[in-house]
């Protein structure tokens, strides 16, 4: 009567299933597809990109290959004012976008989940301390914080990740905490205690699997945040010029007056990539919300 595969999935399968990917929502599927595409692009960037994204291309006569329009001299999306291949930058930009996005999301989801779990499960002074910390984190304006951090440390994409890890766990932490509070009042958690299960075991077996989708949801929001933040930081000139990101490309384009040059091929593609990846995260998020809080959806 029951599918055998469903009954005894392997650990990976179980993990995957407990993420509860929202595969019934068409937008969420679209979002997942966008992620998958960009993920593959990032992994195979070396093979896809025809040039090193930071390589300054010029002819043997020291003629700079700059401001070429798409298609000219074989450059798919043309070149920047500094003679770099835009297409290759887009491709490599995917890599840094995803590295930033995913590590930031991972940090935010991980820290937030741990805080939420510990705070919600144990309550008492642990909870009080952690939630006051969250209050403080809520009092720190995020973008200014990243700017200050970026200015103090050397420009690096990791500043954004660090700042997010330091500040943005607060939202995830609070939501997961309240979820844990609900879960904690569930009968089966009490039942597990009455059965003699240890706190750790209860957290890992009974509570954590239930908040995994929620962590994932906040993770996918965080991916978007991270990418947008990195872009803003780059735009303001606190970015890391060594690693090509879409935000860096936009900053480069605006600083080089791509608008005045009407170089759409330069400032539109990175913008679209950002919008795609970030909204893909939102779409997945929305699919999750429909799944987790079905009363919200239709």
């Amino acid at each position: 009567m029951h599918d055998l595969a469903l009954q005894k999935p392997g650990l990976v399968g179980r993990m995957f299933r407990s993420l509860k990917l929202p595969l019934s929502d068409p937008f969420a599927v679209f979002g997942l597809a966008v992620y998958a595409t960009f993920l593959l692009t990032a992994i195979f960037a070396d093979a896809i990109a025809p040039y090193d994204p930071t390589e300054i291309l010029y002819t043997p006569e020291y003629e700079l290959a700059s401001d070429l329009r798409p298609g000219e001299q074989g450059f798919i999306l043309g070149t920047t004012s500094l003679g770099r291949d835009i297409f290759s930058q887009i491709v490599y930009g995917t890599r840094s976008a995803l590295i930033i996005g995913i590590t930031a999301a991972f940090m935010v989801a991980l820290i937030g989940s741990v805080v939420g779990l510990v705070s919600g499960y144990f309550g008492g002074w642990v909870d009080a301390v952690l939630m006051r910390l969250a209050d403080i984190a809520f009092g720190i304006p995020f973008l200014p914080f990243v700017i200050v951090l970026a200015a103090f440390l050397e420009p690096s994409i990791w500043n954004v990740v660090l700042a997010m890890a330091l500040v943005l766990w607060r939202d995830t932490g609070r939501v997961i905490r309240s979820q844990v509070l609900t879960l904690r009042s569930r009968g089966y958690v009490d039942a597990a205690r009455v059965c003699g299960s240890s706190d750790l075991k209860i957290i890992l077996r009974h509570i954590a699997p239930n908040i995994l989708p929620l962590s994932f949801l906040y993770g996918s929001i965080a991916i978007g945040w991270a990418i947008l933040t990195e872009a803003s930081i780059s735009f303001l000139g606190f970015g890391d010029p060594q690693s090509i990101s879409w935000g860096y490309m936009l900053q480069d384009a605006f600083a080089s007056q791509a608008l005045a040059k009407q170089a759409y091929y330069w400032f539109v593609p990175p913008g679209i990539c950002i919008i795609l990846v970030v909204s893909a995260g939102f779409f997945i998020t929305r699919g999750y919300e429909n799944l987790l809080f079905p009363k919200l959806g239709r």
């Binding site: 025809p50 040039y51 930071t54 390589e55 300054i56 291309l57 010029y58 002819t59 043997p60 020291y62 003629e63 700079l64 290959a65 700059s66 001299q73 074989g74 004012s81 500094l82 003679g83 200015a151 050397e154 420009p155 780059s234 303001l236 000139g237 606190f238 970015g239 890391d240 010029p241 060594q242 900053q251 480069d252 605006f254 600083a255 080089s256 007056q257 608008l259 005045a260 040059k261």
Partner: protein, 551 residues
Amino acid sequence: MKSTCRAVMATAFLALAAAASPAMAGDPIRTIEILSRPQASQPQEFQSIQLIAQEWRKLGLTVNVRVMPWEQMSDVVWYQRADWDSTAWQMVGRPERSDPDEIIYNLFHSSTAEKGYNFIGYQNPEYDAVAEAQRGEIDPEKRKAMVFEAQELLARDQPNMMLVHPKQTFAFDKTVWKPESIVDQSGIGIRNTWTFMALEPLGEKKDIVLNSSDNVKAINPLYISGGVDSWVFELVYDRLIRVGPDGLPKAWAAESYEWKGDKTVAVKLREGMKWHDGKPVTPEDVKFSFEAIVSGEAPMYAPFGSNIESIAIDGQVITFTLKKPAASFVTSSLAKVNLIPKHVWEPIIEDLKTKEANAESYQEKTPIGSGPYKFERWLTNEEIVLSANKEHFNAPKADRWILRIVPNVEAALGMLRSGELNFLGEFSGDPKVLIDAAKQDGDLEVVSTVEMGFRYVAFNERRPPFNDVAFRRALSAAVDRRLIVNAAYRGFAVPSNSVISPSLEFWYDPKTLAELKTGHDVAAGMLEEAGYTLDGGKLHYPGDTKETLAK
């Protein structure tokens, strides 16, 4: 395209590999660092450094470009003088730098190596002698020969790798301003005090509206607070002398001036001048202005008055007696120090003497000067409004001078085209874009001129291998300056091999550039000749030199 680039690089490596003799070799040279500011703030510098690093790598060096903001970079370069290898650097043009002394002496004299401007630690007694001698020489022709000698010594030693003298590009709306009324000040460009006084309106619009990307910090005659600020206070305050459009000193608030011996200058104050509050400008005010800067309350201006032994007044004539002979005194002090009203500033300075803060942090609500424009209004981070001082001896033809703060280059250009601005006072973008825009628009005129300032890569002479002249010469020779001009400056610069700009025609020694030979082969040849070897694609020290600074 790509394959051609790679081919060029490949042949270069082959050539080097063949030339290398691995028999006698020192340690491989450590990773060389080169500092640069971020692309966002300094795109040309950043691009130049990328190109230079690319060329140096072809010589077998491992080069690491470290990007840091200006504040951090200046901190490292100035205060950790033993800790960096090489850095991008720049000197900007200022009217008072029309006299070569500041550059020739301060940047390279061994006395400034420990704490002063000679942060690269260049030590050459021969050069020191020349630099000192030109200071005391009042005869221009004799002094010119000395300045030439100094330039040639620098070209030989290559303490720095000179790159370019950039061109400054400005634009204005020629339907608003009469193009002939624009004044081009050599080495400075058309955005200068002379232009703002001379601009002649063609129609109803009589306000000069120009932009700056940087905020105005202070309008304070006793505080050197920054480039944009000087645009403002040069208009509000007069000076005895102003550097003329030709780069040479020109009597201004002084009716005339005269050297009496090599330590005495007599200045006759123009009659009938008035402060903006209506009080007359007196020789007492002038004397006070020069005393105020050495009162201890204006540390930044103090060096410009420290050579003054005494000031004597005789009617309208003010006589300055110097401690040491200084040929540059007229340009660098008389044309630098702002004339301030004694009745305003004396009580302020007296008050400040009792406090920790000094005059640099004092901001008048309404700055009072005697200059061609009067202060009207200052809106924080938005705009500064000055109005023409119609009673001035050189009254401006425009009505008002309005400086708008526009941080975004695109917006500045857009505003110029839409008429929100009628004078582009600053343009950090791509000059070609500006020229294209002018062509399309038809109302705009763009003017580009070579700057007095220059861009260069400073070598830290304290650290091997930069202590080796041959190594420095090779590194400098490795980069064709045309590459920098074209690739980084889009043609809006001229190649340089001297600290004196060709815009200062009188002082500039053209031989320095003419004799500079560049190219990869030239550089590789120099290194080989000096005993550097290439092993496994990595450059090694000559002989048995050890690497002492590797991390």
